[in-house]
Amino acid sequence: MSEPSPHREGFGVKSAHRALGLTDHEFELICEKMGREPNGVELAMFSLLWSEHCAYKHSKKLLGKLPTEGPRVVMGPGENAGAVDIGNGYSIAFKVESHNHPSAVEPFQGAATGVGGILRDVIALGARPIALLDSLRFGEPDTERTHYLVDGVVRGIGHYGNSMGIPTVGGEIYFEPPYEQNPLVNAMCVGIARTDEMVRAAAAGTGNKVVLFGSLTGRDGIGGASVLASAELDEGDDAKRPTVQIGDPFEEAKLLECCQELLAGDLLVSLQDLGAAGLTSSAGEMASAGNTGIDIDVGLVPLREADMEPFEIMVSESQERMLAVVEPSKVDQVLALCTKWQTASAVIGEVTDSGTFRILKNGETVGEIEIDDLVDGCPLYDLEPEEPTDWTYQNRVSIESDAGPSDIALALLASPSVASKRWAFEQYDSIVGSRTVHRAGVADASVLDIPESNRAIAVAIDGNGRRVACDPFQGTIEATLECAANLAVVGAEPLGVTNCLNFGNPEKPGVAWQLGRAIDGLAEACRALEAPVVGGNVSLYNETPQGPIYPTPVVGMVGELPDPAKVAGENWREGDSIALVGPFDPSLAGSELEKQLGQLGKGLPVREITPVKQAIELVREAVRSGGIRTATDVSDGGVTTALAELAIASGTGCETNLAPVLARRECSDEDALFGEGPGGFILAGEKSELEKLGGQGVDFELIGEVTGNEIITNAGSLKVEVLVEEAEAAFDSLEDRIESDQAGLTH
C-alpha cells in the first residue's frame, strides 16, 4: 500500500493514543505488531477495539470459568446473542446488555439506544424479538437527579420498545445510594428463530459483497460508547456530551422487517449489527470469525453529513445500522428489499482472503491492519484482587431502631426497592405480539406463549447488588437461584442464562475481588442448576469520585414450561391455606431491613445450593400439576413482605404464624418476619393440595390461611398486624415521590 500520512486524519500528535484510552505499552505493542506507527484511522480503530468495552481485557480470563455447554445450547458466548433449542425446529435467542454510561449522560436517549442495541444483537441472529426486560438501578428517589434519571430512562425504554412493537414484559428497579451518579440500565431481549435459519456473524466467501443498510452514518457517538464505557465519569462529562447517540425506533422497526425478509429469502451469507465502535468492530469481528480479510471503502458509505473523515466513518456509532455479507448475484435483490422498507443501503466493500482489514477512500487505501492484531491482539490483563477488610459503602439510617413490627412491615413495603413499580411498567407495551401470558407484576416471572413449538417460555431478570456487595460469591449465587425460583413459580425449568456484570474499576483490588468472586458464584450456581451461560455483557468502570457502584451481576434466565394455562399467579382466595416451602433460613444480613436500620456490613450466611435446588424443583412440579393457585418466592423484605404483596394483589388478608420456622431454624423472631435468604417459597391453595408437598425431602410447613382484611403475622413475641389497605397505600407510594418534578418533554 502507499504509506498513508500519519498526520492526515487529525490525530497526528504522538500521545494521541493516551487521549484515546490506550496505554503506552499498548501503543508500543500496536507499533510492534504493525511494524510501524499507525496512522490516524488505524489508531482510532485500535483504540476502540482495544478498549475494555470491545476487548474485555480485564474480564475475558475470568469469563472462561462460566459453564457454557448443555444439550439445549444452539449458540453460546461469542455470537451476537446466545440461543437455546425450544423444540419443533425453533430456538430462543437472548442476551442482556448494559447502557449505563450513556444513560448517566442522557437518560432518555441512553436507555432508548440501549434497547435498540440489544434488539439488534438478537435481530442479527436472524431471530424476531418477542420480548424485552430491563434491570435498572438508581440512587435513592429523593433527589432531583434521580427523578430526572428515572423519568428519562423509563420513558426511553418505553419509547423504543413500544414504537418497535416489542413488548417489555418484565424487569426490576432498585434504588440504592451507590448508583446515584452512575445508574445502571441493563436491557435484555428475547427472540425466536427457526433454528436452521439462524445466521452467524462470520464473514465468508472471498469476493462476496459487504452491504451496509439502515440509518445514514453521522457523527453520533464518535469515541462514544467505547470511551464512555471505559473511563470513569467525572466533572468533565460535558466534553463527552456532543457524542450522544440518538435512537430512531421507526428506523429500527423497518430494519427488523427488512432483515426478516432478507433472511426468509435466503439472501444473506452473514449478518451483524453495528454497536460500539461501529463499522470497525462489526466488520473486523465478522472477518475475524470467518478467518477472512475485508475491504471497506468509506467513500461508499451513505452519510448524514457530507464532510466526514474516514476515521469518523469507521468509528461512528450511528444507531439502527446492520452489516451483511451477500453473494454478488444476490446484491440487487438485497438492495431492492432495502428500498421496499425505505431504508438506505449500499455495497461498501468486499470479503477478501488477505487476512487484513483495508480501509479505502474512493479506491485509495487509507488504512491497513491485520485482522488478528485488531480483534485478538489486545493484551488480556490479570486482575490483582484483594478482599476489602471492611464494609466500604456508606449506609444511612431511614428507620427508627425502636420501630414496632407493624411499622417496619409498612416501611419495608414503602421502601423504594420493594414498592410497586407498576407506574413504570404501565409505560411499557407489555402485550404487543400476542404472546404475553403473564406480564411484569403479575407473577415473579413473565410467561410468553410459543405456539410454534407448542409450549411456553418464562423469563426473569435479577440481581440484588446490595447482597452482592455484602458477599459477592454468595450474593451472585442467590441472584441466580432467585431467577430459577422465579421461573419455578410459573412452572418453568431453566434452559439458559445470560448475564451483565456491572462493576467498578477492576484495576482497584477491591473491585477486582468482587468481580472474581461474583463470576465464581455465577459459575457455581449455573453449574448446579444445569443452566449454561450462553451470552452476556460486562460493564466496568461504573464509578464516580464518590466511589464504585455496588457490584451488580444482573442475571437473566429463560426457561420452558409445558402448559401456560397452569401458571400460578398472585391472586389467593379467602379460605386458602398458606405454606412456607424450602430450606429458607432467614437472616437480617444484607436485608432491606438491615439497610434501613443503617447496619449493613460484610458477609452473608453461607447457604447450600442443593437443598434450594430441590425446593425449586418441588415447587415447579407442584405448579405444573395445576394444584397450586398462588406461589411466590421469598425475596426482598422477607416473609412478611411476600405475604403482604400477595394480600395486596388480591385484596384479601391473611393470618399466619411463623412458629414452625422458629422451631426449625436458629433465627430470631425478627429474622423470621423480615429476614432474607435463598430457598423460600410461599404457596397458597387448597390445604389438601398443599399437603401433597410434605414428606418429599423438602422442608414444608403450613403457616396459616387467607382471611379477612388484615395482614397478621406472628413470630414468637412479635406480631405484624396491618390493614391490607394501609399496606397497599405504602406499596403504591413511590410514584408520587418520583414524578413530582418531571415534564416528560423529550420525544
Binding site: 413530582s740 418534578d741 418531571q742 415534564a743 416528560g744 418533554l745
Partner: protein, 76 residues
C-alpha cells in the same frame, strides 16, 4: 429557495397536556411566576416556492381541528 418556518400550536381552549405538565413541574424545580405555558411544534424547511406551503400545512403539518399554524418565510 425560500426558508420557511411553520409554528404549530394547540388551538386555544384545548387542554395542552404537555404545557400543563411543564407548569406542573415548575414549583418542584424552584421556578416561580411562570404561567400560561403552551407547547407546540416548529417545522423548518426550504422550499422552491411559497405556493403550496399553505396546502402543506393544512394537509400535513397541522391538523386544523386541533392546531393553529403560522408560516414565517425568509426569502434567501
Amino acid at each position: 429557495m425560500i426558508q420557511a418556518r411553520v409554528l404549530i400550536r394547540p388551538k386555544e381552549g384545548i387542554l395542552d397536556a404537555q404545557g400543563k405538565a411543564v407548569e406542573g413541574a415548575l414549583p418542584a424545580l424552584g421556578f416561580e411566576g411562570i404561567e400560561h405555558v403552551r407547547v407546540g411544534r416548529i417545522v423548518e424547511l426550504q422550499a422552491e416556492s411559497i405556493d403550496r406551503l399553505e396546502e402543506l400545512c393544512e394537509k400535513l403539518l397541522a391538523n386544523p381541528l386541533i392546531e393553529d399554524y403560522e408560516i414565517e418565510t425568509i426569502t434567501g
